[in-house]
């Protein structure tokens, strides 16, 4: 529901490097089945919450298609998953970004060295040249867009141009956290592949591989339980004292509307400083909590209360953005957030 990217100090594993796919067996089987039939849809929209492995699946599919260009070959017909044998050259080339048959559209770093908030139209236009020339490999040209939500209006339209009239043997794998916001004209040209949040034990499995932690570690278990099926969220919670912060925030939210002011002071102190992860974790916890209330609430019975909650959500969002942008003191933010929530839930 929120487009905010959770900034993190932990190095999240890059999907293009990630070979193992945890969960999503149905989705993987659908892709494999479609490819095997020899009549695969040229564009796929992989949707679902952030951090569950959408891009990992997209790269896995891209690697498979680039490694086995002929869908009728025995290697494809007998495959049980989209995995490639270890040390296959395509694994190296895709991880290094040097496979001539794969184009990736993702946010890039600008001249000042910061990550852009969008994918620009010039980057999206690279698809014209890419699909306008022959493939470097054995025929397939694959474009992974991670994510399509980050394309601005012009960039989305530039991408649409190519999706509308794709050349032979081209494959678009679009990743989206909020598929309903994707340009309708792009949506209508894609086959949808919704992915579900992972069950807790699979989050543990994926996070333990990514972070190199023992799966029986209790901190990992707790982080996975709080992560709502998202591996990247679990990994973020594992960094620093993010997990503790998350648990304190949740405990305070549960005690609404009668919050202990001393606990609020303590939380405010814990958030002080310029640690972006801490602030993001706090806001993320609040947003999740509100989102859950909004989803569970009975629209007919509780309409005014829900409307109030939605309004509060927007106010909190704005306040959090200001605090982050202007680097304001965070304790007042904690108090105003809980003040607003207490009023809304009373």
């Amino acid at each position: 529901m929120s487009a905010r990217k959770v900034e993190t100090e932990i190095e999240l594993p890059r999907p293009r490097d990630t070979v193992a796919l945890i969960g999503h067996h149905d989705a993987e089987a659908q892709l494999l089945e479609a490819y095997r039939s020899g009549r695969i849809a040229h564009a796929w929209l992989l949707s679902g919450p952030q951090g569950i492995g959408k891009a990992t699946l997209a790269y896995r599919m891209a690697r498979f298609v680039l490694a086995y260009p002929d869908p009728m070959s025995p290697a494809v017909q007998q495959a049980t998953s989209l995995a490639l044998p270890e040390n296959h050259p395509v694994l190296h080339h895709v991880a290094a970004g040097s496979h001539g048959g794969l184009l990736t559209l993702e946010r890039t770093v600008n001249d000042k060295g910061t990550l852009r908030t969008i994918i620009t139209v010039d980057e999206a236009r690279e698809t014209i040249g890419f699909f306008g020339s022959t493939s470097a490999g054995e025929g397939w040209r694959v474009c992974v867009v991670d994510t399509v939500d980050e394309l601005n209006a012009n960039a989305a339209n530039a991408l649409l141009k190519v999706i509308e009239e794709p050349p032979q043997r081209s494959l678009f794998l679009l990743v989206s956290h909020s598929p309903a916001r994707v340009l309708a004209t792009i949506q209508s040209r894609c086959r949808r592949l919704p992915l579900r949040p992972l069950p807790s034990h699979e989050v543990v499995q994926a996070a333990s591989i990514a972070a190199g932690i023992d799966p029986d570690d209790p901190t990992l278990q707790q982080a996975a339980a709080a992560a709502e099926g998202s591996v990247s969220r679990a990994l973020t919670l594992l960094g620093g004292d993010a997990l503790g912060l998350h648990q304190r925030t949740t405990a305070l939210l549960e005690s609404l509307p009668n919050v202990d002011p001393r606990a609020l002071h303590a939380l405010g102190d814990a958030l002080s400083g310029t640690d972006r992860v801490a602030l993001a974790t706090f806001i993320d916890g609040i947003e999740r909590w509100i989102a859950l209330r909004l989803h569970q609430g009975d629209v007919n019975a509780d309409l005014p209360r829900l409307a109030r909650l939605a309004e509060v959500w927007e106010k909190i969002n704005r306040a959090a953005r200001d605090t982050e942008t202007f680097n304001l003191e965070r304790k007042p933010l904690v108090f105003s957030v809980f003040g607003l929530l207490a009023e809304a839930t009373r």
């Binding site: 050259p89 190296h92 014209i128 022959t134 050349p167």
Partner: protein, 372 residues
């Protein structure tokens, strides 16, 4: 890997391959050049994922192996080393560095693994033939100016190389057009090229091949498939992707029945067009050609600055005719004429004009008129 190589040779080869590498690269491995030592030789490879250049040079390889180093930095190092020195390149499997030693200078460069380096050259090439370098150069030089730079019609951003039938003889034909002008050059079809697919060679590749031909005496090997083209120029091998599109049926825009023939002296005509076009504005570069028996009057009128007129004596015997052309395009085409005189075949002020060389065969140009 350990290899010893002559500085001058390494510098020359690196000079060829490093040009392909773009200065600003978001993908680290594409900023690198692949250095591979084999029995008695060293090969260097660079790519931008659209084309790939490999050059082989003689070297003493004490220990074979391969690694990749930043291309521009490696080139700069070799360039600054003293002339005539022997360069030793050495890397071990343990640390990801390449040591460069020459005389008293020592450098180490960080490397990236060879396995990450892309390989464009894989795949079967169905057709192979050889052409003298001078012929390849002519095919490119005479058509390159007409390649379109418009990205929406990407299939025009290259030279269309195909086999064709020209009055009963099989020819290898190169065509380029941007919709305003068209250039076509042909040669007798070399053996081995029969049945080759028509391919569109991208502009960047064309420019790179042109620069790699330093000696026009040698023979150039060309291999192609529907996906790729490969040029072997001496010890340099260039492999490139092609443009994936259908080149328009250009034959329909080449006029067949233009009956008014004008013969101009190439140098006089070029100089005169250049002189009168001085007055033309940036936007409208139109030059008017007023033709009457034996006489051509070139006029440029620019409402902002003034006008220019020049008279030329020409061979022309048909009815009087006024026609306008873009002076830039006229100069481009005049520059392609190899002989002393150009022949312009005209129909009327609204139809394309056919231009060819009076003395040399095999090349023709089509130019769309401008309204004046």
């Amino acid at each position: 890997m350990k290899v010893t190589v002559e500085r001058a040779q390494l510098l020359k080869s690196l000079g060829h391959v490093h040009r392909v590498v773009e200065r600003r690269n978001t993908i680290p491995i594409l900023g690198n050049v692949l250095v591979r030592a084999e029995q008695g030789r060293l090969s260097l490879k660079a790519t931008d994922l659209d084309l790939e250049v490999t050059e082989t040079l003689p070297a003493e390889a004490a220990q074979p192996g391969a690694t990749t180093v930043p291309a521009h930095m490696f080139y700069d190092i070799v360039r600054k080393l003293p002339d005539g020195s022997q360069i030793v390149l050495e890397s071990d499997g343990e640390r990801a560095v390449l040591a460069i030693r020459a005389g008293r200078s020592r450098f180490t460069l960080q490397t990236l693994p060879e396995s990450d380096f892309p390989d464009l050259a894989a795949g079967e090439m169905g057709h192979a033939f050889a052409l003298p370098a001078a012929d390849v150069k002519r095919l490119i030089d005479r058509t390159q100016f007409a390649i379109s730079t418009e990205e929406t019609r990407y299939y025009l951003n290259g030279i269309y190389l195909h086999s064709a039938d020209s009055a009963g003889t099989a020819t290898l034909r190169a065509v380029a057009t941007d919709g305003h002008r068209l250039a076509q050059v042909e040669l007798p079809l070399p053996s081995g090229a029969a049945g080759m697919p028509g391919v569109i060679v991208p502009r960047k590749t064309v420019g790179e091949v042109q620069r790699l031909i330093e000696d026009s005496e040698i023979s150039i090997g060309i291999e192609l498939s529907t996906n790729k083209i490969r040029f072997t120029i001496g010890n340099v091998v260039l492999t490139s992707k092609l443009i994936d599109g259908t080149f328009p049926d250009y034959g329909r825009v080449i006029p067949q029945n233009n009956d008014k023939e004008l013969v101009v002296d190439k140098h006089e005509f070029e100089a005169a067009v250049d002189r009168v076009s001085t007055i033309s504005s940036e936007r409208g570069r139109a030059v008017k050609l007023a033709l009457s028996a034996g006489k051509l009057v070139l006029t440029v009128t620019n409402p902002d600055s003034g006008s220019a007129t020049e008279e030329l004596e020409v061979e022309y015997a048909s009815d009087a005719l006024d026609i306008g052309f873009n002076s830039r395009y006229l100069l481009d085409i005049a520059a392609q004429i190899e002989g002393e005189a150009a022949v312009l075949k005209l129909a009327d002020p609204g139809s394309p004009t056919l231009i060819h060389d009076r003395d040399a065969k095999g090349a023709l140009y089509v130019l769309m008129p401008m309204r004046v």
